[in-house]
Amino acid sequence: MDENKEKNNANEGLSDEELRLKEEMEELARTFQEELDKAKAEEEKLAAEKQEELDILIQEIEEEKVDEDPENIPEDQLCECCGEKRRGTKDNPDSPYCASCEKGLRHYPFDFLNIILVLIFIGLSLFACTNFAGRIKTYARVAEADKLARNAKRQSAYGAYQSAVQSLKDSSINAEMVYSRQLQNAFAIGSLEDVPSFNTQFNAWELKLPHLRKAYNIFKTYDGMTAARTIGYGYVYEYEDIDDMSKFPYDDIMKKLDAMINAPVDRATIKAQVEEGLQADNTPYGIQADVYDTSMVNFLRMYISAMCEKDIETQKQYLEEIQKTNPEYTWIYSAMLGEIYIKQGKDVTELCNQIRAVDAEDSVADLLTVMQLRTQGKYDESIKLAQTWIDKNDTYIYEFYRQQALCYLSKEEYRQAYGAASSATELNNSKQSYDTLALCCLANKNQTGFDEIKKMYDRYELDFSADVIAYRDGKISLKEILTQGDFDV
C-alpha cells in the first residue's frame, strides 16, 4: 500500500506521456537485470565445469606421477611410445601406450608441409576440372566427327571434322591426333587435294612415331600417287597434239607404265617438272615414296586403254587390279568398275556393299543400284531410289536424272523422260547426257529438239552414239537399246 502510495506520489504532477516513458524505462531496467543475472549464472556454471575438468586432469597427472619413476617399472610394462610411463589406460588396460601417449596418437599431428602439398594438389585438381569443363564442347565436336567416321559416314565426318578443327583453332589447341584422324577421313573419300593442307599440322620428326604412323603412311602414299600421276600423264602429254588416236603409241606407253610397277620414283624427272612449273612441289614434310603407287599406275593404264578405246575387258582388268590391291580405294575404281559390270549384266551388289563399307554416304553405291534395278526391269524402284539422291542435290544428280530418263523411256513415258533428260543436260554437259536427251527427243517426236542437239554436235565435231543413229533410222527399237548390249545409249 505504502509502495503504491509512494509511487502515486512520485507520479503526481507527471503527464500521461511522461508516465508511459517512465514505465517503459522501468521495464527495460527489469529485463536488463534479468538477462544479467542469467549470464552470471551461466558463467558460474561454465567455470565450475572447467574447474571440474581441470581437477580430473590434475588427478590423472597426479595418478601418473605416483608411479613416475621409470626405474621402478619393468621394461615390458613401459609405454611403447614414450618408454617412461606404465602402459595401459583406464579404458584399455592392455594398451601398449600410456594414457597421455594414447591420447596423442589418437590425434596424430599433421606436418604443415604435408597439408600445404595436399592443398596444392587439390587446387591443381580444381584447375584440371575447369580445363576439362571448358573444353567439353570441343571434345564433343571431335567425338561426333569420330563417331561419323567410325560409322563410315565419311562425307558427314568430313564436315564435322572441319567444324571440330575450327573449334580447336579458336581455342588455340594443337590437336595432332584429331588432325591425323581428319586426314585419314579425307583420304578415305579420295579428297587428295586436301592432303597438302596438312603440311603444317604436325611436327616432322614426330610423323615416324607410332601414334602418327597412319598420317605418315598417307603422306607417303600421296607422294607415290602424285609421282605416278606426274610421270604417267607426262607420257600422255607428249602426244597431246595427236588427233587420230590410232597414231597414239599405246603399246609403248603401256610398256612404260608396266615398268613403273614397283619401280623407284624418278625424282630427277619430277624435279625438272617442278622447276618448269608443270608440277607443284607440295609433298608434305618432304616425305617421299620409294616406289610409284601401284593403284595409281593401274588407274593410268585403265585411263589410257579407255582413251584408246580398248575393249572393256582390258579396262576392267586394271580396275579389278586396284580393287584387289587396295580395296579401300573405292573412290578410284568403284564407279567405273560398277558401270562396266552393269554393261556386262553382272551383279553389283557385292561391289555396292564394299563401297558402303568404306563410305556409307557414297552415292556411287546407290547409283549403281539404280542402274542395276533399271536393267532388271524394276523401273519404279529405280526411279524412286534415284529421286532420293536428286532431292539431296547429290554430286551425281545429273546421272540420277539420266537414269530416271532411261527408266521413263523403258516405261514409254516419253514426256517425263524428256523432262528428266533435260534436267541432266542442264546440270552436266557430257555427251552421254546429250545422247540420252536426243533419244528422248526422238521418242517424243521432237525433231526441233533433236536438230538443236545435232547443230551443237556439228559445232564440236561430235557424232551421236550408234544406238541413237540406229533408232533415228528406225533400225532398232528403244526396248532393244535399253535391254540389250550395254543397256545404255
Binding site: 596424430y108 604435408n114 594438389f121 585438381s125 584429331v178
Partner: protein, 189 residues
C-alpha cells in the same frame, strides 16, 4: 614383390603421398591410434599409415572407404583432363611452338598416380572382411556392403602386387572412348 610394390609407389609418389594423407585424416577423424605416421617409408606400408587394429566395423569401413573415395575423385579429375588432352586430342605441344605441353602430361601422370593408389592396405581389407562378413553381422549389411567391399578387397590385392599401375594406365587409355561415347549420347553439340 616388396621391391616392385615400392617402385610402383615411388613412381606414383603423388598419389601414394595423398592416399596416406587421406588415410591419416580418416584415422584422426575416427580417433584411431596411428603407430607410424610416415607416408613414404620404403616398406609395404608405403602410401599407408600404420594404425592400430580397428575393431569397430563403421570405423574400419570409414578408414578404408573415405581415402579411396577422395583419391578416386581427384584422380578422375586429373585423368579426365590429361587423358582427353593427350590421347584424344593429341595436344602434345603448345600451339605453334615446339614446346611440349607439360601441363597435360602432369595431369595425366597425376591422374594415373592417384588411381594407382586408391585401395586400403591388405591388412585393412582383411580386417574389414572379418568385421563385415562374420556371424554377428546383419545379412542386409552384408548385401549392401558387398559391391564396395568387393572393389576395396580386390583392389587391395591388386595394389599389393603393383598391378594397379597397369590397370590405371589401361583405364587412362580407355577413358577417351568412354567420354566420347558419353558426349555423343548426350548430343552436346
Amino acid at each position: 614383390m616388396r621391391i616392385l610394390y615400392v617402385i610402383v609407389k615411388y613412381l606414383t609418389v603423388v598419389g601414394t603421398f595423398s592416399k596416406a594423407f587421406f588415410e591419416h585424416l580418416s584415422c584422426r577423424i575416427y580417433e584411431v591410434i596411428i603407430e607410424d605416421g610416415r607416408y613414404l617409408p620404403p616398406t609395404e606400408m608405403c602410401g599407408h599409415v600404420e594404425h592400430e587394429i580397428i575393431k569397430k566395423r563403421p570405423v574400419c569401413f570409414g578408414v578404408c572407404f573415405f581415402p579411396f573415395m577422395f583419391s578416386l575423385i581427384i584422380g578422375l579429375v586429373f585423368l579426365s583432363a590429361g587423358s582427353m588432352n593427350v590421347y584424344f586430342l593429341g595436344e602434345f605441344f603448345v600451339k605453334d611452338t615446339h614446346i611440349p605441353n607439360f601441363l597435360n602430361y602432369v595431369f595425366l601422370w597425376l591422374g594415373i598416380s592417384f588411381l594407382t593408389n586408391l585401395f586400403p592396405s591388405l591388412e585393412d581389407a582383411i580386417a574389414l572382411k572379418e568385421l563385415i562378413y562374420n556371424k554377428e553381422t546383419n545379412i542386409f549389411v552384408k548385401i549392401i556392403a558387398a559391391p564396395i567391399f568387393a572393389v576395396l578387397y580386390c583392389g587391395a590385392y591388386l595394389e599389393h602386387y603393383g598391378v594397379t599401375l597397369l590397370t590405371s594406365i589401361a583405364f587412362s587409355l580407355a577413358l577417351p572412348s568412354i567420354y566420347s561415347a558419353l558426349f555423343t549420347a548426350l548430343h552436346l553439340v
